[in-house]
Amino acid sequence: MCREFRRYLPYLVAFGAMGVVMAIRAAIPDSYYHNSPFLLGLGAVVLTSIYGGALPGLLCAALALVIEVFRWAPAFGPEELFNGALFCPLAIAIACGGGWLRRSRARGTAAVEHLREREAHLQSILDTVPDAMVVIDERGVIQSFSKAAERMFLWTAGEAIGRNVSTLMPSPDREAHNSYLARYLETGEHRIIGKGREVLGRRKDGSIFPMELHVGETRSHRYYFTGIIRDLTARNEAEARLRELQSELTHVARFSAMGEMASTLAHELNQPLSAIANYLKGGILLLRSNEPDLPKTIDAIDKAADQALRAGQIIHRLREFVGRGEIDKRIESLSQLIDEAIALTLVGPKSAGVRIQRDLDPAFDAVFADRVQIQQVMLNLIRNSVDAMEHTPRQELAVSTRLTDDDFVLISFTDTGTGLRQEVSARLFQPFITTKPHGMGVGLSISREIIKGHGGRIWAENNPAGGATFHFTLPLATELEHA
């Protein structure tokens, strides 16, 4: 009913407009406008066609024509004919123009409506996807911050918008991000745009998490950069678990191989040991006899000494066995090794409260190392630190690198944990020494063998302020190249 009414409303308006025109004409003497009798009618046509479109406008024009013709029929002369002839095309043009205006206005409204709909749709998508979206301008100032970004970084959109995006990054990206932007704007060189990269993000509470970042750019009169961010914590957790299992498996395999080796070695060691005992005991028997046979005794003691050396060689073989393993050394970026190791270990509930401080010397970043083995060492050290800090109020792990006097890079992991007990620290790197309830005591001994295999050293000390620091050294890749 209502729709029917709305459909015919423009026509009613046409009649109404003509009614108003007639009323005005009735109220005002003809002489006032006898030069332009169609002026009022034209006005009505303009209004009606703008409001109602072409057809109501034409209706209005027809009504005006009919009224003029019939009302002034007695005085119908050439002047009226001319006015009427002029009115008709004018009124048609106005009606058509009004109709076009109305249609384009309707189109405009529909386009705006459509746009609004799409935007709402897009927003709902952006709000639902787990990936966060952050838009920044060319100065790095956050322009838009999605719901997922709020959840991921713990900032609300209101807090985040207007801040520099570096707030969302840990060091060293935090300090360097503005220079990254400046470099891009200057050189146009793509470092991250168009490629996904794994980087570290920093939440409002200071905790750090691994994330995958894709950046796209928009260029109109200004640059805008859109970052799509995926939280890799869960994925890395799975990866870390997998890696943990693998390393455990390697440990177990090595452990059982060592057990077998130990058993074989026990047998092998018993041979020279029993020979030594026999020679010496026999020698004593000879010396105690009434007429000691000195040459024979000396010979026996000499043989006993040889057997002692043989025992030493067997032990040496054990050392070689433990230190064995394929080493695939390449030039690696130390900071990358460290970041990956941190990202791999800083997952899981235990490490949730641990704050990481990185103090890496970019000048000495290239080391000559086996990536897997060195990361194994770092994983061991970080995991030990996290374990040691499980119940301490302050949970901070500082990683630093610096050059030593002998052209090695010194990597140090300093924690605020419980530190090393006196009786443990002496035997820290020996196999099968552990302070953990379920530890096997192979982590640090294998770490030591790995670092030794790289030509470096590993040691530990207690910090004056509490906690422990583990250091190890690796050869600088540049020095090796020169050598």
């Binding site: 058993s263 005992a277 026999g282 057997q307």
Partner: protein
Amino acid sequence: MPDAVIHVIDDDDAVRDSLAFLLLAAGMVVRTHPSALAFLDNLPQSDAGCIVTDIRMPGMTGLELMERLHAMDNVMPVVVITGHADVPLALQAMKAGAVDFIEKPFGDAVILDTLRNALRENGKHRDREAERNILAERLASLSPRELQVLERLVAGQPNKAIAHELGISPRTVEVYRANVMNKMRANSLSELVRMTMTAHSDA
């Protein structure tokens, strides 16, 4: 026991040589063999002495050697020495007939005491064996009739019953009995009984 020889079997030159040295220093007679097979190839004529053997050896293990010796009725006691001692292995060795199971490295007192005991056992065993051989010889010298009389004497039958059973006079039984006592060099009936039992006993 001047003729008792200790046979040392070990594939490890140092262990073999050093043990031989210790035993020599303790006044024992020693022969060394680098493997169980070498020992079997060069098997001593006499059972006098004992064997000290390692378990883990190439070719033939100490346990296999004991089985072979047992099958050959060799009575030399075997002492097992090993650098790889565990309970199942020790049990296996004792079941196979080892007189002792000694873990390397060992003190001189342990090995020497064990070997002296083994030699003593071996000596006693060989004495019994020798007596049985002598008695068997004496038994073999008896005539069929004398053997029949001996059997019944040992069974505790009086002369009359024996005479009745064999269909001869008691007087003749007495003659046979005197011959048996004489040939067996028995001083009394009870000694005769013991001798017969010894001769019929197993090792």
